[in-house]
């Protein structure tokens, strides 16, 4: 289990208890966290699960996959700490993770 905090563009935060093994996108969608769409269901094929990972967590979460890199390069407002969160798997190590959502998914 991991407690994950999603902070919306407008500052509202949502805390979710996520089970190990699911993706961070799935955890968000299943808990109705606004700001994460997940149109492709986690195939890394839509870029509508874009999040910014808080600096302290970047090392723990790790880097992007090759496909993810390409999809993110098309998204608006991509930053160094951007990830597609369907490509991040929940584990105990992520307990306390904080991510921010962009002003819109596209």
């Amino acid at each position: 289990m991991a407690k994950i905090t999603f902070i919306e563009h407008n500052g509202t935060s949502h805390v979710v208890e996520a089970e190990n093994g699911v993706s961070v996108m799935r955890a968000a969608v299943d808990h109705n966290v606004p700001g994460i769409d997940g149109d492709c269901g986690g195939e890394c094929a839509c870029a509508t699960c874009h999040v910014y990972v808080e600096a302290a967590w970047q090392g723990v979460v790790g880097g992007r996959t090759e496909t993810e890199e390409t999809m993110l390069s098309f998204a608006a407002a991509t930053q160094d700490n951007s990830r597609l969160c369907c490509q991040i798997t929940v584990s105990d190590a992520l307990d306390g993770l904080v991510v921010h959502t962009p002003d819109g998914q596209h």
Binding site: A45, M71, A75
Partner: protein
């Protein structure tokens, strides 16, 4: 069922020898008689080879997951115009403008990167107000209690005005946009939209001149919110060659023209077939958030996208060879009940309404998806605010095409 796959149509399709089942027949789409073909293929032969058709030999990919597999595997399945491009009818090699929809990486990626942020939600918010004003003006001008054509008066007019808004295109010339979009995608021929290829090229040159003029005006003026100004001033776009600029611009116009138009008609048509869904929406306007993607799924404005295999590969147990034409039938994948529950039905409060194929997936996924949704949302918000009671008076007439799934006309009346 709600589709006009009449009993006789269904029975005759199911009794055909399998190798003669060929859904790529424009007449089938015009007659709305394609459903039974796809139903049978999904069940009996999801990845299906047709040896002979008016478009030559081709593979039909009919299930959601197989379509996803092709759409996300651009290394094997190419979009390149010189291999035939992105629709079942092979692209003419002399197509005048480069468009990234018919390119592969790395060129595709470079160009898409430049255009994509321009139609991201943050930028769209700037345009919302004007689009809404124009939608309101059109809706308020519609006659009450008398028959009119929804396609012409609403779908085409709204789409055209919305395009004009997006580009801040001279308003009195706005039907030029529709014309150029139609001309860019049509097949020249006697009796057609353009009679000859020369005429087509001539009109596109006129289009090019018009847009270069607008570019020059905007690049020398302070930035405004429209797409041309954004392209002219954007850090990564302002150094585009004229060819690139025009190619991208026409792609944005073509991409947003028929698709949005037919979603506007398709939505009203869907509500007329499923009136209880409209009552649900009238009672709770918040359902628009899920109703809009459901309209786009149910309509599937582009019936397919095509790829050309560039390596031998296996899909759904079938051996596809390098050079083969592969058709992703979105119109079929969107009715795949293994992935979408009660897929034939129009249900506006689905739990995962955006899980549909109408925008494609992977690196070519529709750049304008959120823009399209925004335009449809504005129109339906204004229809609901006015509580317009719109009656569809007859079956719409459909487009003769295996690519553009749409309507030529649909007679309606607004009840007083």
């Amino acid at each position: 069922m709600n589709h006009v796959s009449t009993m006789s149509n269904r029975e005759s399709v199911w009794s055909l020898p399998l190798d003669l089942v060929s859904p790529a027949d424009p007449q089938l789409f015009k007659d709305n008689a394609h459903w039974a073909y796809f139903e049978r293929l999904r069940q009996e032969d999801p990845v299906h080879y047709t040896a002979d058709s008016e478009f030559g030999p081709y593979w039909s990919v009919t299930k959601y997951k197989d379509i996803m597999a092709v759409d996300t595997n651009h290394k094997v399945f190419s979009s390149l115009s010189t291999l035939g491009g992105i629709s079942i009818r092979d692209q003419r090699a002399d197509f005048p403008l480069p468009m990234f929809i018919a390119m592969d990486p790395p060129l595709h990626d470079e160009q898409r990167k430049v255009v994509s942020p321009i139609v991201a939600p943050g930028n769209l918010a700037i345009l919302e107000h004007t689009i809404r004003e124009r939608a309101i003006a059109i809706l308020d001008s519609l006659p009450r209690g008398e028959e009119f054509d929804w396609v012409d008066r609403v779908s085409i007019e709204l789409t055209t005005q919305m395009l004009a808004t997006l580009f801040d295109f001279p308003f009195h010339d706005r039907r030029k946009l529709t014309r150029w979009s139609d001309v860019a995608t049509t097949v020249a021929g006697p009796g057609g939209l353009v009679e000859t290829e020369e005429q087509r090229q001539q009109e596109l040159r006129e289009c090019a001149g018009y847009f270069m003029n607008l570019w020059n005006q905007r690049v020398n003026a302070p930035p405004t919110g429209d797409l041309i100004s954004m392209l002219a001033h954007g850090e990564s776009t302002r150094n585009m060659t004229p060819q690139e600029f025009l190619g991208n611009l026409i792609l944005l116009i073509v991409g947003g023209n028929d698709t949005t138009r037919n979603s506007l008609t398709g939505g009203l048509y869907a509500f007329s077939k499923f009136p209880e869904q409209y009552q649900k929406l009238r009672a709770n306007h918040d359902l628009l958030d899920s109703a809009i993607p459901e309209i786009i799924r149910w309509q599937t404005p582009l019936a397919h996208m095509r790829r050309t295999a560039v390596a031998d590969t296996v899909l759904g147990g079938k051996h596809i060879k390098a050079g083969d034409k592969v058709i992703m039938w979105y119109v079929s994948g969107n009715r795949d009940s293994e992935v979408i529950e009660r897929a034939d039905e129009f249900i506006i409060d689905r739990a995962r309404p955006r899980q549909h194929l109408s925008f494609g997936f992977g690196i070519h996924r529709c750049v304008g998806n959120r823009l399209a949704e925004m335009q449809l949302r504005i129109v339906w918000e204004e229809i609901l605010k006015r509580d317009l009671d719109i009656e569809v008076l007859a079956e719409p007439e459909r487009v003769l095409s295996t690519f553009i799934k749409g309507y030529l006309n649909m007679p309606v009346r607004i009840r007083n």
